[in-house]
Structures are given as structure tokens and as C-alpha cells.
């Protein structure tokens, strides 16, 4: 690529402002900033929670106060001041909503701007949308259809009221309260999230989807998602995020727990496009997420993620392959631009015999961003004939960005087979030249190559998401991608 053209492309990319940066004005019920035990009691009381959950939160809080914020990730940022954020913010409930038509028109307008019309989606694509505006779910669709099959899909708050026995049985079993600094914080102050239960042998007929948005200024988001797939069931779950433009950093410390019982399969897909900050690295969301699933006998968990947003990302969706013959998968495309920093990857913990895992990670760094893959493949002594295959590729778009790979491989059995490979390169000039020879513009050629590069992962996304993911990839790298 010629120097000047590259500069032109680059300036286009860097000057591109965040498209989805708008704020919805809805009255909110927010408690004063700061964090202590009384805040947790207030949250619990506001949400009318049972005593055991309050105890559970307080245990987490006690553990958290003794913990230190981790510093091992390959990222540098100013630590968020937790005493300056409000830990609870819920849109004021006007009345009980029976259908989506009753939803606040402001909300619907927001969704239109995001390019998803809830109603249209409801009709056309068969997707049930649990729309999370800040911390409380205000709209849930397709509940009736799912209800017939016995599938429970609701906000976690609702589940705590209506299915406390299920929540109590599973919450914290995969990500314990004291797992890490941010998981402990989340356990103490989580406000809401999604809950999903698929009964034995049920194949969930539609993709379950939640649209997260961070909306209230100065509000940290502490979502907690719990997915339980009972024996022989199947579910595909979608999580997508966009956030309005803000100048101060916003913290997002979510926890996702998945329990995949014998022979069950859970497919969890994420498209994440939170505000990454402006081209000077001002503002942007801090995304410190703990996602983990446990697989019982012959079960499967598949994580697919397309990460384009957030100023700082710290996220390792993991699989504990406890049961024999269980399968874990991780497919990821992480795009960083400007001053974004991402430290993301996965952990595959092989405990059962003949467990298998696949990791495909594609990093794309542009601008002055830093993009790291950090992964762990651990084969325990009992995991006979365990198998792992990992590929981590990085693509560098400018000479000021960085791409890093930190894989940890720990094998403790003589029958394990592990293969790991990683490559780092830039787009080949000969590839671009080849395309140009055939009449494809340079910009279009780069787009073609990037999409081809990320194809292995994009193909794993459900149809509805794949379209959005492509759009996000294009927006994130606009100027260099056609």
C-alpha cells in the first residue's frame, strides 16, 4: 500500500465517530454513588429478594473487600473509582407491560436507531428479545411460546421471584462469589440479567436474544446471566451490545454462567460494540467480564464472539469439561482500533476422558491499539485421550498497533494431544495486488481479505447475528474495509 493512501485511509478510520452514540432520555430511579454494605442491602431490598440471596451478596462483598484489582492483563488504564458510580439504576416502571406495544416509545425509537425493530424481529425472525435497558428488563417477548415447552426465559430478577429454587441451585456454581475481583464485585451488587432454563430433552425452537445497553450516565453495569440446559436439551443464546457515547469511563463487570447437563448443548454468541472511546482514547467502556460454562457428560458449550467495542476488554469465556466426551469451543474475532486495548481469549479445562476443545481466535489491530490473546489449555491427569486444537492469528493494519499472544499449555496426561499455532502478519501486498489486477478497488480488496480472514468465526454465528457482525466489522475498520 502506498504511504499517502494508507494515511488517507487511516485518517478516515480514526476520524470516524461512534455511530451509535446517542442517549435515550427516560426517567431513572438511581441510588447515590458509592459502595458499602448498605448499598447492597438497598439493592436487595429494592428488588425484593429473599434473605439467602442477600446473605450470598454480603458474603461476596466481604470477600471482595479483601481482594485486589488484578494487574496481570496486557492493558494499561486508569482504574475506575468505584465510589463514584451508582450501583443501581432502573427505568421507572410505569405499569406492567403485557406486550411490546406498550413499551415506552422512546425505547422503541432507540431500537430503531440500532437497526433492530423489535416488532419486526418478533414477526420475521422468530427471535425472542429480552431487552435490557440499563439494569432492569422492561420487555420480554415470545414468553408464551416458550412457556408451552417449559422453557424459562426471563430476567434474573423475575427468576429470583418466580423460580427461586432453580436460581439458588445453580447461581455461583460455575463462577463462585470469590472467583476474581470483578466476579466478586458482580456477585455483591448485580442488579439484573437474564435467566434461561431449558428442560430435559427440549430443543429450544428459537434463538434467545438479549440486547444489552448501558444507558444511564454514571451507572456501572453489573449483569448476571445464568443459563441452565438440562439433559439432552439445546439452546442458542445471543447477546449483543451497543452503548451511547460518554466521556467518563463506564465500568461493565458482568458474569455469565452456563450449566450444560449430560448431552445438552449451549451455543452462546456475542456481538459486543460498546463505546470504545474517541480517537484519543478518551472515554469508552471498561469491559471486565467473567464468562464460564461447565459441561457434563457428552455436553457441549460453544462460545462465539465478535468484539469490536470497549476501551479496555478483559474477557475469557471458558469451558470446564468435567464430563467424559464433552466438547468446548471458542471462536472469536476481536477488532481493536485507535487506542483500544483488548486482552481476551479462553480457558479450556479438561477433566473428563476424551474431552475435546477447539479454539479459533482472530485478532485484528488497527490505529494504536493493543490486541492480546490469552488462553489456557489445561489437561488434568484423568483426562485421558483429551484433544485440543488452537489457532490464534493476528492481523496488523498499521505500524503503531500491537498484536500479542500468551497461550498457556499445561498437560498432565500421556495420552493428550494438543496443537497450538499462532501467526502474526499484515495483509499481503501481493494479495491486494492480485485483487487490483482483477479490477477490485484497493479498499474493497482489503475488506475482502479481512472478511475472508474472519470467515471461520463469522460462519459460526447465527444468521441474524452474522449480518450485524459483518456490519460492525465494516464500521470498526471503515476506511480500510470496503
Amino acid at each position: 500500500m502506498k504511504g499517502t493512501e494508507e494515511e488517507n485511509l487511516l485518517s478516515e478510520v480514526t476520524e470516524k465517530n461512534y455511530e451509535y452514540g446517542f442517549t435515550t432520555e427516560i426517567e431513572s430511579d438511581t441510588i447515590a454513588p458509592g459502595l458499602d454494605e448498605s448499598v447492597i442491602r438497598t439493592i436487595s431490598k429494592k428488588k425484593n429478594e429473599p434473605d439467602w440471596l442477600l446473605e450470598w451478596r454480603l458474603e461476596a462483598f466481604a470477600a471482595w473487600t479483601k481482594m485486589e484489582e488484578p494487574e496481570w492483563a496486557h492493558v494499561a488504564y486508569e482504574k475506575p473509582d468505584l465510589q463514584s458510580i451508582s450501583f443501581y439504576s432502573a427505568p421507572k416502571q410505569k405499569k406492567e407491560l403485557a406486550s411490546l406495544d406498550e413499551v415506552d416509545p422512546e425505547l422503541l425509537k432507540t431500537m430503531d436507531k440500532l437497526g433492530i425493530s423489535v416488532e419486526e424481529q418478533k414477526k420475521l425472525s422468530g427471535v425472542a428479545v429480552d431487552f435490557v435497558m440499563d439494569s432492569v428488563s422492561v420487555a420480554t417477548s415470545f414468553k408464551e411460546t416458550l412457556g408451552e415447552l417449559g422453557v424459562i426465559f426471563c430476567s434474573l430478577g423475575e427468576a429470583i421471584q418466580e423460580h427461586p429454587e432453580l436460581v439458588r441451585k445453580y447461581i455461583g456454581t460455575v463462577v463462585p462469589q470469590r472467583d476474581n475481583y470483578y466476579a466478586a464485585l458482580n456477585s455483591a451488587v448485580f442488579t439484573d440479567g437474564s435467566f434461561c432454563y431449558i428442560p430435559k430433552g427440549v430443543r429450544c425452537p428459537m434463538e434467545l436474544s438479549t440486547y444489552f445497553r448501558i444507558n444511564q450516565a454514571g451507572t456501572g453495569q453489573f449483569e448476571r446471566t445464568l443459563i441452565v440446559a438440562d439433559e439432552g436439551s439445546y439452546v442458542s443464546y445471543l447477546e449483543g451490545c451497543t452503548a451511547p457515547q460518554r466521556d467518563e469511563n463506564q465500568l461493565h463487570a458482568a458474569v455469565v454462567e452456563i450449566i450444560s447437563h449430560d448431552e445438552a448443548e449451549v451455543k452462546y454468541s456475542t456481538v459486543q460494540n460498546w463505546y470504545p472511546g474517541d480517537k484519543d482514547g478518551k472515554g469508552g467502556v471498561f469491559n471486565f467480564v467473567t464468562k464460564r460454562g461447565i459441561c457434563h457428560r457428552s455436553a457441549k458449550i460453544s462460545w462465539t464472539q465478535v468484539e469490536t467495542g470497549s476501551a479496555v476488554t478483559w474477557k475469557y469465556p471458558s469451558c470446564i469439561l468435567k464430563g467424559d466426551d464433552s466438547i468446548g469451543e471458542f471462536f472469536s474475532v476481536a477488532v481493536t482500533n485507535n487506542k483500544q486495548q483488548a486482552d481476551t481469549g479462553t480457558k479450556m479445562i479438561h477433566l473428563g476422558r476424551r474431552t475435546r476443545s477447539t479454539i479459533i481466535s482472530k485478532g485484528i489491530s488497527s490505529g494504536e491499539s493493543q490486541n492480546s490473546y490469552r488462553g489456557l489449555v489445561q489437561i488434568h491427569p484423568g483426562a485421558e485421550n483429551a484433544r485440543n486444537f488452537s489457532v490464534c492469528d493476528s492481523l496488523l493494519m498499521t505500524d503503531r498497533c500491537g498484536a500479542h499472544t500468551f497461550p498457556y499449555i499445561e498437560a498432565k496426561t500421556p495420552t493428550a494431544q494438543i496443537e497450538h499455532e499462532a501467526t502474526t502478519s499484515k495483509i499481503g501486498e501481493d494479495q491486494i495486488f492480485y485483487c487490483q489486477q482483477r479490477g477490485i478497488e484497493e479498499e474493497e480488496a482489503i475488506g475482502l481479505i479481512v472478511k475472508g480472514y474472519a470467515k471461520d468465526v463469522l460462519n459460526k454465528l447465527p444468521m441474524e447475528f452474522a449480518v450485524e457482525a459483518q456490519k460492525l466489522l465494516t464500521i470498526s475498520l471503515e476506511g480500510s474495509v470496503g
Binding site: 491427569p381 500491537g402 496443537e419
Partner: protein, 399 residues
């Protein structure tokens, strides 16, 4: 109770499991031991178990150290124009080398070496001088609870060429710590070949750190063989300071019993057009543990770097384990960097093929191991050394 930190004082704390660089290589047992440096005044005398020249038939200049102290009578120093080769204790005035690496400022092991170091090689090769034979440093440990802190210094001037072999051995009843540092700098167009062999009986905690600085168009080639060792940590750090450097570094480790072998390598490309190629192979027998950590840095201006790293491991027995961590940190875009890391076992099809042709299982496995190691061993330039290493591997594992 007297612990090691009482005897050898340092400002830096010893590494714990929480230190990222040491998480797979705990040293708590060493810290509880009571060691001392060799205080005997006698020059001469050597072990009956081990010959002063560890490699039969190898014609080399030789520097022999016993428990960290230089042994004149058993050494054979070169007398050649443009070559200074002597123990550091005999270097005087302006020639006394100044160690520049930061290892002693950042690591407990390094600080101990700096505070307590005894002696070592001082080697300087002048412009366009090619030394006719390798320089062999033989380090013997034959005491109980003995700590030795050798420090070697090598400088190869423009166009010079030299081959250095660092061999450490110890007797069956020996115990203690070997804590050695080698610092080398290679001038433009010069070549340094380094072979490091650890063949230690007894219970020695072996720490070695090599710090290599490469200038423009220089060549560096290194082999690290851990043929035997109770607890071994090999650290290699190569810094490419000039453009067009070439670095090749390979290693093989076959721990058995409850041995522990840790290989840490860092390849730091700070300038343009450099190439580096790394190949480490390990077979873990018994209940041994192996560690591989390979880091490749490509700094912001190191364009057109071509770095390749491969680590292949076999976990041969139940109870053995390997912890591997191949890392890339890339800050330049016009580069080709890749790494591959595998853990597996002997190819059962190949084993079956050999057996079906009348080769018994043991011989067949030996053949496969030989083939597995061939890529590493065959690139050692010195025939005698190559054969000796293979011989020890074979004797050890009873092929």
C-alpha cells in the same frame, strides 16, 4: 532454622509461585537448604568419577572450574594472536569486563550471582580472528551443599568467529546450587556459536542465564541440552540491536524420574530485518515436569522481522507433565511471526510399522526418539559433541 536467604543476602525477594516467570518452577525446597561457597584453598585435584575433559576426543581449549573455582592445572588455554582467553580472576586493569545486563537488578537469582560471583571465563576475539578450536568451559560440582556462582564474559569483535561450549557436571553425592551467568556481545558480521550442556548427577539446583547482544549482521547459534539434572532452569535472552541479525537457538530436554527442567527463552527484535528461528523439543518420562516459555518481542521499529518458534513435547509416562507458554508480542506490522506448540505421544502408526518389520518395541521407540531429537542435535557443528550428547541420552534411557 538457617535458610538460604540468611546465608546469601539480597535486596530482591526470592521468586514465589505467584511470580509469573516462576509459577511452574517453585524453589521453596532450595530456600530451606543451608549452602555455602567452597572455601578450600587447594588448587588441583578433581573427581574420580568425571574426567576433566567431558567429551572424549574433542579437541578444545579448556577452562576447568571446580565448585566455582578455577583449576589451573587441568585447564588448557589458547595462545593465539588476537585472542584473550583467561579466567576473570586474572584479568586486570581496563580489561575487567563490565556486565551490562539487568538480570541482577530484576531477579533474585541474578542479584545473588552479582553479589557472590567467584570466577569465570573472559574471552575476547579480535577483528576477523577465527579461533581454530572450541573453547570448553567445564564446571564441576563435587561438594555437599555447595553453591557456586560462575560468571562468563565473551566479546567477539567485527568479523570474528568462535565456538564456546559450557558443560556442567557433578558427582553422584553432590548437592547445592549452580547459579551461572554468561554475557556475550557480538560485533557486526561476527559469529558466536554456543553449546550449553547440563549433565549433572546428584541434587543440584541449576540456574543458568545467558544474555546475548547482537549487533548488525551478526550471527548467533545456540544449543541447550539438558541431558541430566535434578532441577534445571535454563534462561536465554537474545537482544538484536542491529539490523539483519540472524539468531538460531535450539534445545532438547528429556527429564526422567522426578526431575524438573525449565527452559525460558526471550528473543527481542529491536532492529529491522532480523531473523530468528527457535526449536525446542522435550520428552517427559517418569514423573518429571518440563517447562517451556518462549517469548518473542518485535519492537515498534523492527520492521521486516521474520521470527519463527516451535516447541514440540511428548508426555511419555503417566505422572509426567509439561507446561508450555509460547508468547508473541508484536509492535510492528511488516513482520512474519509464528509459533507452534504441540503436546502428543509417539506416533503409534510409526511404531507399528517398525514392529511389523521385526524391530522390537524398545528399539523402535529408540529410533523414534532419535528421529525426534535429530532436528535439534544434527545442527550442532561439532561432531564429537554431537555424538557424546546422543551417547549420554542413549545410556540414560537404555535404548
Amino acid at each position: 532454622m538457617t535458610v538460604l536467604t540468611d546465608i546469601f543476602k539480597s535486596t530482591l525477594p526470592p521468586p514465589t509461585r505467584k511470580s509469573e516467570r516462576w509459577k511452574y518452577s517453585p524453589i521453596s525446597k532450595l530456600l530451606n537448604s543451608t549452602l555455602s561457597t567452597d572455601s578450600s584453598e587447594i588448587d588441583g585435584g578433581f573427581s574420580n568419577e568425571i574426567a576433566p575433559n567431558p567429551v572424549e576426543g574433542l579437541e578444545a581449549y579448556r577452562l576447568v572450574f571446580r565448585n566455582g573455582k578455577f583449576n589451573h592445572s587441568l585447564s588448557d588455554l589458547p595462545i593465539a594472536k588476537g585472542v584473550i582467553c583467561m579466567p576473570q580472576s586474572e584479568v586486570s586493569g581496563e580489561d575487567v569486563p563490565e556486565f551490562k545486563n539487568t538480570y541482577s537488578k530484576t531477579e533474585w537469582v541474578g542479584e545473588l550471582n552479582e553479589s557472590y560471583h567467584q570466577d569465570g571465563l573472559f574471552l575476547k576475539i579480535d577483528r576477523n580472528i577465527k579461533l581454530d578450536r572450541p573453547v570448553l568451559i567445564h564446571h564441576l560440582t563435587d561438594g555437599k551443599d555447595v553453591a557456586s556462582f560462575p560468571r562468563h564474559f565473551v566479546r567477539v569483535e567485527e568479523g570474528g568467529e568462535v565456538d564456546v561450549v559450557v558443560w556442567s557436571s557433578s558427582t553422584k553425592n553432590s548437592s547445592g546450587m549452580y547459579n551461572g551467568i554468561l554475557e556475550a556481545s557480538i560485533a557486526p558480521n561476527a559469529t558466536l556459536t554456543l553449546e550449553k550442556v547440563c549433565n549433572e548427577d546428584g541434587k543440584i539446583y541449576h540456574f543458568s542465564h545467558e544474555n546475548i547482544i547482537q549487533e548488525r549482521d551478526s550471527k548467533f547459534k545456540m544449543h541447550t541440552f539438558t541431558v541430566k539434572g535434578h532441577w534445571v532452569r535454563n534462561e536465554l535472552e537474545i537482544i538484536s540491536r542491529g539490523k539483519g541479525t540472524d539468531s538460531i537457538f535450539n534445545g532438547a530436554f528429556l527429564p526422567t524420574g522426578n526431575e524438573h527442567v525449565d527452559n525460558h527463552t526471550t528473543m527481542d527484535h529491536t532492529s529491522t530485518d532480523g531473523t530468528s528461528s527457535e526449536l525446542y523439543r522435550g520428552i517427559m518420562y517418569g514423573t518429571s515436569t518440563g517447562v517451556f516459555n518462549g517469548k518473542v518481542f518485535v519492537r515498534p521499529d523492527a520492521q521486516r522481522t521474520n521470527a519463527f518458534q516451535q516447541n514440540t513435547n511428548i508426555v511419555a509416562d503417566r505422572g509426567a507433565s509439561i507446561n508450555a507458554k509460547p508468547e508473541l508480542e508484536i509492535y510492528a506490522d511488516d513482520v512474519k511471526c509464528s509459533h507452534g506448540c504441540t503436546v502428543g505421544q509417539f506416533d503409534l502408526d510409526a511404531l507399528f510399522y517398525l514392529k511389523s518389520r521385526g524391530i522390537d518395541e524398545k528399539a523402535a521407540k529408540a529410533l523414534l526418539v532419535e528421529a525426534f531429537l535429530a532436528d535439534v542435535i544434527s545442527s550442532v557443528p561439532c561432531t564429537e559433541l554431537r555424538e557424546e550428547i546422543m551417547k549420554i541420552y542413549k545410556e540414560r534411557h537404555g535404548w
